[in-house]
């Protein structure tokens, strides 16, 4: 076990402690896994809004005329075609097509913001350094800049009174630079919950004031502090991959069903040949959604069977309040077990439980 003293603390650590959050080690930080309870927090995000501390995620600033051109060679999605203030999901792969990390690029005014998973921060920083170009400047803000997300259908009305940015003009997967409670912020309409919402990139020294002011001003509207537990259920329902589960150094974006983010028309990028070859062979194991028939939850690592044949394993699993309270899972399974409607079996403590392959996502918000 890692002693909690070895763990880094976000700018909001003392607020989490004061509010009685349950803290757990995550990505080298001591992070809140829950406040009032996972189901209550989940409900707040689906119906009102929830507030998340995501400061464990790493923020890198990329500067220079050739950032886009350089980043194109390291990533599978297009960078150069991004409009000013646009955000775009992107994946850095290894030469075999496996994923180093899945990330979001934000094209700001005169610089780029790259947000990478907290658990991959050191690996990704080393990867960027190893592939650096002379005219691209990299700055690592991991741990010094904070990230607060407000997610849920009431996000706009809760955030609007406290920012000088007209949020109606910030479209999905775009961002703006402005202020929140008078403090400078990049306000991005991005998230990881399947709901409308914003991610606020702010200086660590202002994070606590913004966090507490939002809760003070909107607790009566149902805004709840949320932990990583609720976030994981929300993202799984929304069919979003979590690095280390649906995407790894071994599981490629093609296997994870992220072909929409793969731009093979780009002439050269790390992993391109391997990914194209994998798509052409089309014999790979792939990530599917499963809905369990019974009440027993499927968990990561459980074996999956088609008849008597083992065809793969569960990668994530949870009870899903937004899918009728059923147990849902993702599983990496053989191609012939991956057709929607196929009934598979998940082995749980020696017993097999039926599960049906379904189209992802499990949950889609009403527009």
């Amino acid at each position: 076990m890692t002693a909690s003293t070895d763990l880094r603390r976000t700018a909001l650590h003392d607020d989490h402690a004061r509010m009685g959050a349950r803290m757990v080690p995550f990505a080298g930080f001591l992070m809140p896994v829950q406040y009032a309870g996972v189901l209550r927090e989940h409900d707040a995000v689906r119906h009102r809004a929830g507030l998340f501390d995501l400061s464990h995620m790493a923020q890198f600033v990329l500067e220079g005329e050739r950032v886009a051109e350089w980043a194109e060679t390291l990533t599978i999605n297009a960078v150069g075609s991004m409009k000013p203030m646009q955000a775009r999901y992107n994946i850095f792969c290894n030469a075999q097509g496996g994923a180093h990390d899945d990330t979001i690029f934000y094209r700001l005014d005169g610089r780029w913001l790259l947000v990478v998973n907290g658990a991959n921060a050191e690996k990704m920083w080393a990867h960027l350094q190893a592939n650096r170009a002379d005219d691209v400047r990299l700055t690592n803000l991991h741990g010094s800049r904070a990230l607060i997300a407000i997610q849920g259908p009431k996000s706009v009305e809760m955030l609007q009174p406290h920012t000088n940015v007209d949020l109606a003009n910030v479209k999905y997967y775009f961002c703006a630079e402005g202020s929140v409670y008078g403090h400078p912020a990049v306000i991005a309409r991005t998230g990881y919950t399947g709901e409308d919402g914003f991610e606020l990139f702010v200086d660590g020294e202002h994070a606590s004031e913004i966090w507490n002011a939002l809760l003070r001003d909107h607790a009566q509207d149902g805004l709840e502090a949320c932990g990583l537990g609720a976030r994981d259920v929300l993202r799984l329902e929304a069919g979003m991959p979590l690095y280390g589960h649906e995407l790894t150094e071994e599981i490629t974006p093609v296997q994870a069903g992220l072909q929409w983010a793969l731009k093979t028309a780009k002439p050269e990028f790390i992993g391109r040949n391997a990914l194209i070859e994998q798509m052409e062979r089309d014999d790979y194991a792939r990530v599917v959604g499963l809905v369990m028939e019974g009440r027993v939850p499927a968990r990561e690592g459980y074996k999956v069977f088609l008849g008597d044949r083992e065809v793969g394993e569960v990668r994530s699993g949870s009870m899903a309040p937004s899918v009728g309270g059923k147990n849902i899972a993702t599983a990496l399974v053989a191609k012939d077990a991956a057709t929607v409607g196929t009934v598979l079996a998940v082995e749980i403590r020696g017993a097999k439980h039926d599960a049906t392959v379904v189209q992802l996502p499990f949950y889609k918000r009403a527009k």
């Binding site: 349950r22 896994v33 309870g37 996972v38 537990g229 939850p297 403590r349």
Partner: protein, 126 residues
């Protein structure tokens, strides 16, 4: 929530209510609070012989699977079937509607291995 004084407790955070030759078993308020929202409880079959402190099932929260140990040995004579459709009863009412199973005691002397409410309180608040 205070620990009911008329129950006995295990270090693994289960409670036992002795009712003559049988005993009712559940998990403590501390345990349900630590686990968080409970979504599934797997209990031993009726008729099964279980040994004191043995692993007899699981309690699953949204995020985690936890082993369930029995604080007392005997033959399982009844399980709380209502938990199949309402596992959250363990969160709401761990000492009442959230009881888990009932055993016919094999050896009443096993109660000597359990803790009083006051002694359990010290463990749960450490």
């Amino acid at each position: 929530m205070a620990q009911p004084a008329d129950l006995l407790y295990s270090k693994e955070h289960e409670w036992v209510k002795i009712e003559g030759e049988t005993a009712l078993v559940g998990i403590t308020d501390y345990a349900q609070n630590s686990l968080g929202d409970i979504v599934y409880v797997e209990l031993p079959r009726v008729g099964k012989q279980i040994d004191q402190f043995g692993n007899v099932g699981v309690v699953e929260s949204v995020k985690a699977v936890s082993d369930l140990f029995t604080p007392i040995g005997g033959e399982v004579v009844e399980i709380n079937g209502a938990l199949e459709n309402d596992p959250a009863a363990v969160n709401r009412d761990p000492y009442g509607a959230g009881w888990l199973f009932k055993v016919k005691l094999t050896n009443a002397g096993e109660t000597g291995n359990l803790l009083s409410a006051a002694d359990y309180e010290k463990i749960a608040t450490e």
